[in-house]
């Protein structure tokens, strides 16, 4: 019995409106190498990445607050496996609580030797202080910045 298969690829491009809040955030990243969060008036929490409303209180956020560039690691992972359309391994990324923020922002961790996973995990352990680094040429994207051990 001959069993056949068909190959199909999904190929649609999207142009997602970022809205004013995210657009302003990225403009700051691109033009000033700064990161900002938004404060939710109802709870007082500084939300990073910034949004125009808090999903906890459903209230609008009210003011911009500069955060970082220092921060502490909240969690991380080190990827050793290759996945289609994702970067070649190994790489480390995770979430950082930037100084002044109440929530953590995702980004790559660079400059850590990842060959020995146990040693790397110790280097990246929760609570480790980091500093945010910015690319020379920035386009207004999350990949314009990353974290390095302080």
């Amino acid at each position: 019995m001959e069993l056949m298969t068909r190959q199909e690829t999904w190929n649609i491009t999207y142009k997602h409106a970022l809205g004013e809040t995210a657009s302003w955030f990225y403009a700051q990243v691109r033009d000033n190498a700064k990161i900002f969060g938004r404060r939710c008036a109802a709870s007082g929490r500084v939300l990073v990445p910034p949004r125009s409303f808090s999903d906890q209180t459903l209230q609008p956020t009210t003011e911009w607050v500069e955060v970082g560039p220092g921060g502490r690691i909240e969690t991380f992972t080190i990827v050793y496996e290759e996945f289609q359309n994702l970067p070649p391994p190994p790489y480390a990324f995770g979430y950082v609580l930037l100084d002044g923020a109440d929530t953590a922002l995702g980004g790559y961790f660079k400059g850590v030797d990842l060959k020995d996973s146990a040693k790397a995990a110790e280097r990246l352990k929760i609570g480790t202080r980091i500093v945010t680094k910015f690319a020379e040429k920035r386009t207004g994207d999350v990949l314009d910045f990353w974290y390095e051990i302080a």
Binding site: L3, L47, F76, F83, F93, G94, Y95, T103, G107
Partner: protein, 392 residues
């Protein structure tokens, strides 16, 4: 007790495996549906409505693939809708079927679905696209590394070790070996797990669920119908859903409402389901559990969230053997999600397996004397949680 409970009267599931080149996607749905209908001993004319269980379309490669499944579930000219809550889809579908009946709208409802994750090419590529393009799509997020990050926080908070994680795999594989429907059934040792290749630290290959293909189906009915037809059934006595914030970074930092180490909303969901079912002391009153845990570390916070112990205590209790078949409270006697993960129906299989358990029909992986069981499903970025209490 009034005459208006909702019961499960038929169950069907494939023998899951990596690829099913012999069957198209609708064929797999049909396979499970036929098994469930035979189990319930009903004709298709008895079915008044169908709830279709299907998570990301991209996994199956067909937009709104449920439309293709209409004939497979015999829904022509019948009530039909589809549910998608990511990995929780299967249990959410059973819940939706429950609401069709508990509302008084229908007496008999079929819920079914299938997945062909193994055919997808790369499920992590698809699962990267669940993150929003605004801030996180650019990061190499996937469900594996997302839950790796949860392991990091659980290690930090409760002292979890890689060996503790391996013990979960060892337990579940031993149980899957007794379950003819499970995908991964090979027994492994702690050393095997620790030596397996690292995917996203600390998650290794043998800490991870497989990409499975197969179908699942269940038939639910009103108590009135069950009594009229003199059918056998087990009963859904409690159910709930609860969600966390989509933002992973909000589950850390200063005073998070929910920590990414734990499964806060799963706990809330269980609390609501238990309240409905009148369960006040889960550790004593629940006999068996199928908790959605696609990676070994996640079984621990699922056990915590089920209210069996304080957060972190599950580690010691698992070491003591409390959660294995033969122990006080078997968790994932089927092998669980860790051994079989056909995403669109995985959470339905949790419900199906618990139904079989409290029905006394679980064969070699039967938890002896189980009459009260719980099931859970997780979806999104560890965001949506469905829970159910099933009783004999």
């Amino acid at each position: 007790m009034s005459n208006d409970r909702v019961g499960i009267i038929g169950i069907g599931q494939s023998a899951f495996q990596a690829r099913r080149d012999d069957a198209s996607y609708p064929d797999l749905v049909r396979e499970a549906v036929v098994l469930a209908m035979n189990d319930a001993a009903l004709e298709f004319d008895d079915i008044e409505a169908v709830v279709y269980s299907l998570s990301p379309d991209a996994m199956v490669g067909i937009g709104n693939a449920e439309r293709l499944g209409v004939d497979a579930v015999g829904a022509r000219n019948k009530r039909f809708l589809r549910i998608n809550t990511g990995g929780a889809t299967g249990i959410s579908s059973v819940a939706a079927a429950y609401y069709h009946i508990a509302s008084g709208a229908c007496d008999v409802v079929l819920t079914a679905g299938a997945d062909k994750v193994g055919e997808c090419g790369d499920s992590q590529t698809v699962l990267n696209k669940i993150w929003d393009p605004t801030y996180e799509r650019q990061l190499p997020l996937g469900t594996i590394n997302m839950l790796g990050m949860s392991a990091i926080r659980y290690m930090h908070a409760y002292g979890l070790t890689e060996e503790d994680m391996a013990l979960v795999t060892v337990k579940n594989r031993r149980q899957a070996a007794l379950n003819p429907n499970a995908h991964l059934r090979r027994i492994v040792t702690v050393d095997d797990v620790l030596a397996s290749r690292c995917i996203a630290w600390p998650i290794k290959l043998l800490d991870s669920c497989p990409q499975s293909s197969g179908g699942g189906a269940m038939v639910l009915a009103s108590e009135r119908f069950i009594k009229e037809r003199k059918l056998e059934a087990v009963w859904i006595t409690g159910l709930a859903h609860c969600s966390e914030s989509y933002w992973l970074g909000d589950r850390m930092g200063k005073n998070p409402a929910a920590d990414h180490a734990d499964a806060f909303a799963l706990g809330r969901s269980f609390q609501r389901a238990y309240k409905m079912a009148g369960i006040t002391n889960p550790y004593e009153q629940v006999h068996v559990a199928e908790l959605y845990a696609p990676f070994s570390n996640t079984e621990y916070h699922a056990i915590d969230a089920a209210g069996f112990c304080k957060p972190g205590e599950s580690i010691g209790m698992l070491r003591e053997g409390q959660f294995e078949l033969g122990g006080k409270l078997p968790v994932n006697p089927s092998g669980g999600t860790l051994c079989t993960n056909a995403i669109a129906v995985t959470a339905m299989i949790r419900v199906a397996e618990i139904a079989l358990q409290v029905w006394g029909r679980a064969g070699a992986h039967q938890a002896k004397g189980a009459r009260v069981g719980i099931a859970s499903g997780n979806g999104g970025d560890h965001q949506f949680f469905g829970t159910m209490v099933i009783e004999a």
